[in-house]
């Protein structure tokens, strides 16, 4: 331990996140941790271990499954939660469609991304969750840059950016009315690079699709999409084999790959450090639809 009593920036961010998680479980009755199998929520699981071990997590882990996820991500999800010995709740978009709560889009640009909001809000209501940990970061997107760490949702699950509670020092106001809930973002202040450096430092396992691999893809709007039963190709779109990796893990219908040779964690970190495009700009079709795409989805109750 250095005599200067100095904490590195990554450990400072870690400590802040652990503090947020402990405040949340203390102030809310039924929290839940949203886990997608992606890198950000992988970090959340490690932070939960830091905050609550040797005890069990004081909350279950929930995945909103679109039914169009990468099989590698689903396999990883089940294995990771089992290793931790924690409880997994799966909320299914498929189920929401089957019961008529959500209506499937059709055509080559169809995506179940937007439908997740319905499934998520239904699951929150069904289980009576009053706080949901999410792995969103403020550096991801302009609307997220304005959101609080502890972000209030009204009884319709909606976010009102103009009516956010002031958030001062590390004093989080966790008081809500019945039916309302809070989204809690412990890694709000982390950047994409921070997340990868942390994964490397902590030697965390991530799904294989984050590393370079051979995949059958096709090009659309400057992005590379995986050829899959979930995406209909349009005229003129030709599949080809490429060495790619994913920077984000979302639904197969809206997440693009990048060409990459980064096959190890340190190569991924180096690639991120050198990149000149944001992860969402590069690989998420859902944020490209309109200039305020994320803001609109957030207002409706998206992650």
């Amino acid at each position: 331990m250095p005599a200067t009593y100095h904490l590195s920036h990554l450990r400072t961010l870690e400590s802040e996140a652990v503090h947020v998680m402990r405040e949340t479980v203390a102030e809310f009755e039924r929290p839940v941790l949203l886990f997608s199998g992606g890198k950000d929520s992988i970090v959340l699981l490690r932070l939960a271990e830091k905050a609550f071990r040797p005890g069990p997590f004081p909350f279950p882990v929930m995945h909103v499954d679109t039914g169009h996820n990468f099989p590698e991500a689903i396999e990883f999800r089940d294995r990771r939660v089992a290793e931790l010995g924690e409880r997994l709740v799966v909320a299914s978009v498929e189920e929401s469609i089957r019961t008529g709560r959500a209506v499937e889009q059709t055509g080559p640009r169809a995506s179940r991304n937007g439908l997740q909001t319905i499934t998520l809000l239904d699951a929150i209501a069904e289980h009576g969750f009053d706080a949901a940990f999410g792995g969103a970061r403020r550096d991801e997107e302009r609307a997220r840059a304005k959101e609080r760490i502890l972000s209030f949702r009204d009884r319709f699950g909606q976010w009102e950016p103009q009516k956010q509670r002031p958030e001062v020092w590390s004093l989080y106001n966790g008081r809500i009315q019945k039916g309302e809930h809070a989204r809690v973002f412990p890694i709000s202040n982390w950047t994409e690079l921070d997340v990868w450096q942390y994964i490397a430092e902590e030697e965390l396992e991530v799904p294989s699709i984050y590393f370079a691999h051979e995949r059958e893809v096709f090009s659309r709007d400057g992005m590379l999409y995986a050829v899959s039963p979930f995406v209909e190709m349009m005229d003129g779109e030709v599949p080809f084999a490429a060495r790619v990796r994913y920077r984000t893990v979302g639904d197969m219908s809206c997440t693009g790959a990048v060409e990459s040779d980064a096959a190890t964690l340190s190569e991924v970190v180096a690639e991120i450090a050198a990149t000149d495009v944001t992860e969402r700009g590069e690989t998420r079709a859902d944020d490209r639809v309109t200039e305020a795409a994320m803001e609109d989805r957030k207002r409706q109750g998206y992650f």
Partner: protein, 667 residues
């Protein structure tokens, strides 16, 4: 750089899918990774305050852009939007204006956070708008800031708004303030304009507690003195803004002296998994904790010892702020969320009544009959009574005592009485244990943010050396005002605080200054650290808590002397920046002059001199915790005067001290 040129780099976006892979090859991945892992990973949080008109968004855009933090797709977005708005240049403010309503109305709604990194530091920017919600927004964004950037438009000078920002920075105890005098391009880069603003701002800031203020003339639009040094303002000798942000000394802004550990959560696995494990989880709010430390749990007062400090990564030898850890105690006592664990010899105040400065943040005004809660560290209590003492006009600093209620953006001193006690320090001493929020019980809204004032703490400190607190002790005001005293004596007093390693030469210089002042017929008095330890501070040892108490008492004596019209010369190692800052703040409260004089002699030289043989004894292991050998010395980041450079005689040094006193009208 001209406005026209600044848009040109926007075209190098390229195909998004291909860029990432290509750039990696240039440098071996393993090397990049090692470089990132090894680089100084300091984190600086700063807040920017100013209105759209001051060019704040442009400044942040410029910082990000010139330090190459803007990525191709973000830039493409700004370029398109600039064109749509019909701008001929790249409107960098568009990088930070995030929400639809902001873009439509051309205003910034709330605090937005930005992240960037250089080879020196990582930065978190809290970007707070300065329009009508200024106070609420700035308090929200700046509460945890290490540094605040206050923007002043060079054409307009120090406006009411700049004063508000300065005042809020002072209120929030932000250790460093940078005043960026922007739009220098519109006043022909004239030095006189800059100087006038500096003078005007200084005059106002002198009435506040701003320990470190730096002024930088910039043009955010053109990039002068933001990242690159300006070629058009050769008269400005200081560093550009980014360099300052990268190098400002923040390590000593933390309180490593007063151990404070608010318990958030009890970790208690089911009995079947781990045998009888119980640990108290929380984030260290102050001080350094070690296993074996004797502690007391407040507000209950039960004593115990730290049996171990645990983390997921294994046992921890020393826990300090802002680490999140879990403590195990050797005794089975009642500890839960809301308890605060502290050292036995250094305790905070436990009380349900105190004075605070609050910022009202709700559109619903404060109402007498309404039920409010206070959340402070990990405790929440009901408010029994709020009494508004006075409202402060943040522009004139005038106090309005005829106020019953508080409205949005009001700043006021209040007296609070709660249903149950809090465990607190003054905000000045600790930003975690001295801050609170008020919550409206019916709407659940956060309606106010508050900082706890020193009043009760001082009473408690006095009481601590006895055994009982004396809550009924009131300050007895003298009928003689400071002005009358000054008039009668023909001069005012001041405190010169000489700090430095043992053997640096503090007492020698201080004694010579005393001699000189007395020759001039001015009362002066040397308060020597060693001498005080024979009497007033004879009961104190040398651990952190005792050192803090030693400095605190000495500061109070110096203040009284200065108040009485004497120049108090304090010669004290005073190794901790926080203690010295408290001493300065104590004087600032009463508008008394306080000068920090850093006698900066290299350790080897001090050790060579070793006038009292202390270094020899410390090296021989006879003395533990000796500053410079076994305990840290936190050098002042911005002393009023720095002495001790080689080649200077004591006479020359005395002369420099006298010049400082003359400059400030003390002699």
């Amino acid at each position: 750089m001209s406005a026209g040129e600044s848009s040109s780099p926007a075209t190098n976006g390229g195909s998004a899918a291909q860029t990432a892979a290509a750039t990696v090859e240039a440098e071996n991945a393993a090397e990049v990774f090692r470089r990132l892992a090894d680089r100084p990973a300091d984190l600086l949080r700063f807040a920017t305050a100013g209105s759209v008109d001051d060019g704040k968004s442009t400044l942040i855009g410029r910082l990000l852009y010139d330090s190459k933090q803007v990525l191709a797709d973000q830039l493409a977005h700004v370029e398109q939007a600039s064109q749509r708005k019909g701008e001929s240049f790249l409107d960098l403010s568009l990088l930070t204006d995030g929400l639809r309503a902001e873009r439509e109305q051309g205003i910034t709604i709330d605090v937005a956070y930005r992240y960037f990194a250089t080879a020196q530091r990582r930065f978190i920017i809290a970007d707070t708008p300065g329009h009508e919600q200024y106070t609420r927004n700035m308090v929200t964004g700046a509460s945890t800031a290490d540094l605040a950037i206050v923007l002043v438009d060079a054409r307009k000078g120090v406006l009411a708004q700049s004063k508000r920002h300065a005042f809020i920075s002072s209120l929030l105890g932000i250790p460093h303030v940078v005043v960026c005098v922007n739009k220098m391009d519109l006043v022909d880069f004239q030095e006189e304009v800059f100087d006038e603003i500096v003078e005007e701002f200084d005059a106002f800031a002198a009435r506040l507690e701003l320990p470190d203020v730096t002024f930088i003339p910039i043009s955010a639009l053109l990039g002068d003195n933001v990242v690159e040094r300006s070629a058009t303002m050769p008269w400005y000798q200081g560093p550009p803004l980014l360099y300052h942000l990268e190098h400002v000394h923040i390590a000593s802004d933390r309180n490593l002296i007063d151990v404070r550990f608010p318990v958030q959560w009890v970790i208690r696995p089911p009995a079947t998994s781990v045998v009888d494990y119980r640990a108290y989880a929380g984030q260290v709010a102050g001080g350094i904790m070690r296993p074996g430390d004797e502690v007391v749990v407040l507000p209950g007062g039960q004593r115990s010892t730290i049996a171990g400090i645990d983390s997921f990564d294994g046992p921890v030898e020393e826990a300090f702020p802002p680490m999140s850890v879990a403590l195990r105690l050797s005794d089975d006592i009642d500890v839960g969320r809301g308890s605060t664990i502290v050292r036995t010899h250094n305790q905070p105040t436990v009380a349900n009544r105190f004075e605070a400065l609050v910022c009202w943040m709700s559109e619903q005004p404060l109402q007498a009959g309404r039920r409010y809660l206070v959340k402070h560290t990990t405790r929440t209590a009901m408010v029994g009574k709020v009494e508004v003492r006075y409202r402060i006009d943040v522009e004139t600093l005038r106090r309005d005592e005829n106020v019953q209620t508080l409205a949005l953006n009001d700043l006021a001193r209040v007296h609070l009485e709660l249903s149950s006690p809090l465990v607190f320090d003054s905000y000045r001493r600790n930003r975690v244990t001295g801050s609170l929020i008020m919550i409206d019980e019916a709407s659940n809204d956060t309606v106010a943010a508050g900082v706890i004032l020193d009043t009760e703490v001082e009473e408690a400190a006095v009481a601590r050396s006895g055994s009982e607190r004396s809550p009924n002790v009131r300050w007895q005001g003298s009928r003689v005002t400071r002005e009358r005293r000054r008039e009668a004596l023909g001069h005012g007093g001041a405190t010169l605080w000489f700090t430095g390693l043992p053997g640096a030469g503090k007492s020698t210089i201080a004694a010579a200054v005393e001699e000189r002042l007395l020759q001039m017929g001015r009362p002066a008095f040397l308060l020597d650290g060693d001498n005080l330890r024979h009497g007033l501070n004879g009961d104190l040892g040398f651990d952190e808590g005792a050192r803090a108490e030693n400095v605190r008492r000495t500061a109070h004596v110096a203040r009284l002397l200065a108040e009485a019209g004497t120049v108090a010369l304090v010669s004290l190692v005073s190794p901790y920046a926080a203690d010295r800052r408290n001493a300065a703040a104590l004087h600032a409260t009463d508008e008394l002059s306080f000068f920090e004089v850093f006698v900066d002699a290299p350790l080897e030289l001090c050790e060579q001199r070793d006038p009292k043989g202390l270094y020899a004894r410390a090296r021989a292991g006879e003395l533990s915790g000796m500053t410079g050998v076994g305990a840290p010395y936190e050098a002042p980041s911005d002393p009023d005067l720095k002495l001790g450079s080689d080649g200077e005689t004591v006479e020359q040094e005395v002369e420099r001290v006298m010049a400082l006193l003359r400059e400030h009208g003390i002699v």
